[in-house]
Symmetry: D2
Subunit: 319 residues, 4 copies
Amino acid sequence: MKRIAVLTSGGDAPGMNAAIRSVVRVGYVRGVKVIGIYRGYRGLLEKDFRQMLPRDVSGILEKGGTVLKTSRTIEFKEEKKQLRAIKNMKEKGIEGLIVVGGNGSQAGSLALFKKGFPTIGIASTIDNDLWGMDYTIGFDTAVNTAIDAIDKIRDTAESHDRTFIVEVMGRDAGFIAMDAGIAGGADIILVPEVKFNINEIVDDIKNGMKKKKMHHLIVCAEGAIHARDLGKIIQERITIDTRVAVLGHIQRGGSPTRFDRLLASALGEKAVDALLDKEKGKIVGIKSNKIVLIPLEQAVTKKKKLNLKLYKLARELSV
Amino acid sequence: MKRIAVLTSGGDAPGMNAAIRSVVRVGYVRGVKVIGIYRGYRGLLEKDFRQMLPRDVSGILEKGGTVLKTSRTIEFKEEKKQLRAIKNMKEKGIEGLIVVGGNGSQAGSLALFKKGFPTIGIASTIDNDLWGMDYTIGFDTAVNTAIDAIDKIRDTAESHDRTFIVEVMGRDAGFIAMDAGIAGGADIILVPEVKFNINEIVDDIKNGMKKKKMHHLIVCAEGAIHARDLGKIIQERITIDTRVAVLGHIQRGGSPTRFDRLLASALGEKAVDALLDKEKGKIVGIKSNKIVLIPLEQAVTKKKKLNLKLYKLARELSV
Amino acid sequence: MKRIAVLTSGGDAPGMNAAIRSVVRVGYVRGVKVIGIYRGYRGLLEKDFRQMLPRDVSGILEKGGTVLKTSRTIEFKEEKKQLRAIKNMKEKGIEGLIVVGGNGSQAGSLALFKKGFPTIGIASTIDNDLWGMDYTIGFDTAVNTAIDAIDKIRDTAESHDRTFIVEVMGRDAGFIAMDAGIAGGADIILVPEVKFNINEIVDDIKNGMKKKKMHHLIVCAEGAIHARDLGKIIQERITIDTRVAVLGHIQRGGSPTRFDRLLASALGEKAVDALLDKEKGKIVGIKSNKIVLIPLEQAVTKKKKLNLKLYKLARELSV
Amino acid sequence: MKRIAVLTSGGDAPGMNAAIRSVVRVGYVRGVKVIGIYRGYRGLLEKDFRQMLPRDVSGILEKGGTVLKTSRTIEFKEEKKQLRAIKNMKEKGIEGLIVVGGNGSQAGSLALFKKGFPTIGIASTIDNDLWGMDYTIGFDTAVNTAIDAIDKIRDTAESHDRTFIVEVMGRDAGFIAMDAGIAGGADIILVPEVKFNINEIVDDIKNGMKKKKMHHLIVCAEGAIHARDLGKIIQERITIDTRVAVLGHIQRGGSPTRFDRLLASALGEKAVDALLDKEKGKIVGIKSNKIVLIPLEQAVTKKKKLNLKLYKLARELSV
């Protein structure tokens, strides 16, 4: 393989730049030309290609977002677009493609593979919802950002003896909420993976107040319930001062953490080496603290399970 | 004067703890007993008093929120409550009161003064809307938190070529929005003090796109327009990808900055010295980089003006 | 077991408070009395004991350092002191001891176990040098602090086209240097585990300059070479502007990250459950992303190896 | 005036990029061509000039360091170099020069003015030692970085009951030390402007220990005494555990704060307008919260005084 391409797709995640840098530099070291494709699959269709050399990725390691830019992937589901994408790559002599992104983006990568084009995915989404791996690039930074926000909110909660409901991202998964909840010292964590009962939440708060816990912190995943809705219900049931905080897009940005910079660097290297080893239709990720290769088919279609031991731990710690 | 009290009231602001620490330690150095009143005016009514010594305020300088806790002040507007508060203080031998807080809280301080009790205010609100002074305790930290969030959001805005509308706090004033907007590199800043025209905003964005500005950042004060409403209008008029971020309560918390720690320390010292100098019915603040004493009557009733030169500067910088 | 104790010992590490909180609260949930021992083994000898209830550990999750305080362990190597420690615990009805700390501290824990007292260690040191586990509490935060510092230093390095040598902690191990180096984008990383040749370093810099790399960043472990010494050698050999930064104690403090808060919470729970399950003479840690129990004897005496794949990756990324 | 130039010189300071951006964009709005000169006076001598348009300064507002790069100014003191610099600018049609930097850099700016070339300085140095103004660009960020480091170090000081001596930058002035000391809660602050007596420091620590202050924090300016030297003296006199931290270059870098971004933006605008108003040989700065123009001659030669009220405040707060 003499020429490979790399694109970032879907929601941006901190560490994507570190992954791009790793692909470009490791590719260079292995003697392969690396082509950057701009704006995800859109750039693949519009031939927005540029060769990338080691110095082109200087100074991006610490930056959030993605210098290759990104786009949503909805339109890429049409077969004729996929074929055009492959044609565009072949015209430029590109023999393999590395796709940095989450679930939806890897579905595109899988589609191209099924049409016969060698692709390797790099697992990158703040939601951490890709099957077969423990962590995806961006998750650690996103949770740290959420924790930082929760720590600030707790200052106000304590000062006012208030109950706060903090809504975090994660789409239909509770990974961010679970980690941010435990690390943020939440009294109650609500995730889509565990059914909850409003009456029990109300009882928990009432019991807490009896134990002189004057402020409460609830962290909820956007996929479990909206903070605003929960806030209304609680205020109808208990006469307490309740406030709502939807952390929103700040969770996507920012300079990546140690964890995400290292993970992205290691996955970038592995993705290049996998392509050169004639691997395809796979995704690189971290599992049991080892870099692994997993079939894209499984990573994309299977549902990753939340570690329910953490849920139990969270309950104990909020005693 | 042998015994003075201090309370924090209204919305908490980073640096309130630094002010409490300064009042307690400077009071001690001046040979005065300092009584901490818990939960603002509510504690004043419920006699929630505790003496504070220098070691009681160790380790709080860097903490957001207020260790004295705070409460909203609405109920304190009744005259009979004000009289009861004075009675409670006199019973404990308290001869002067320092009130750390913003506009509403200083109205309470003014009321007590008018009823004959010596009070001195310390200007503390993230909104920075107290007349007669350039800055209030908490504003600098709140804007820095907003900037940090905006920097993160810009990562995503750039990666997706998206327009972002970021709503910041400030109640009916635009101080946070103006500073956060300029420091955050906003293309458009909307504040309650300056009328704006939706058509012009739409034109600005269209012109920006012609100049290859692919992402736009609008910072709006909550008192000017709600980000959500503006977002809907823009998306109806222009076919661009628009997102909304309401920063919310994270702006209140967090460890105070240099500016707020120093300001709070200096104002705490000045407030104690003012009481000992038989000053009353005044508020301490910073004006032209000097610590000043201003009649509470004026600080509370007059409307502080936004520096419109900054508005002009903001327009130039977003060229 | 009805009554257990917990102490923190050796160099403090971010996350120790999260571990204490977890031990106290999980202990409470399991119906066990938890005694906090102050100032490490010194408090054990001086009977500085206090019972800890769930509310006693409120608000410490996010704090660096250790509320139980800590001390160095040198004197605890004498047998008669170990026997006195056991006597002191037995007098108070303490049946098991949890020791939060690194290598030296766990040697004390091992000694007590060998004398017949049930002990469980919790692996906590920023150095990450405990055998048998992938990470110890505090390491992630320390490296993130180092990265943050390196990011700042790079601003100056770039602005002045300067070579910077940054010395990080880690005692005789290179774990902090390796991770901080890769994540900080270092051109050269020096660790005690890999022999290096000054001539090669000098050649690397010269080659970099030929490739228009105008600034260089060297990260060295304190156990490999002192930055000051290396700086002198480089400046004698190449006429470049060189500066030295010894990060020092800032690496120990600060609010713990997601990783350290979660790890500490999980290890605290596991340590309590291990004691209740009649485990002893072991240490809890994380291995392959699972919480594991390892004999203290091995953890303390065996030498943990640095992952040399990372060293290769670092070389490739600095191309 | 149709064409002006801008350069950054001397030690880099956070906010220099914000100043460059402001000069470039305001210049564009005023219809003036703005030329960026690279690497300070060295680039002026070597004709390292490039025109800068508004989009060339996109994304630099939040970055530490300087995209124009910088160099030390020693060699620029020769008259013939100054004349060559003026010749180089005239050749390119440059009619006015804006110099962003501190004392030494403004001496160069003054020299060019004396040789007949219109120059305006922008006060930028973390040391804050320019006469005639309250603050210089970079100071606020540098102190906030120092405070952040001190907050971390205090975690360890408290955990070990240790005395820490933290050395901060500032060359021969104590501005950073004074603000970082007060805001960091230092027990003792040593600055070059105030004579100190080692015996008194030792007595202070001994008295603190009697009052159960088990850890002490000393902040010293590099211009007052070196932390290492002070540490040795203290350890010889008192049997306490003492540690030293030299904060070093981290104080120069990092993303600028609200204060520095706004100050740099306002000073950039003012510098352009001053040149267009035919002002020359002056420097723009902030005084009493207003943007002012001061003769370079005075700013460069007079010695700025430290506010000794702060020194008194610091003593009271460490009671």
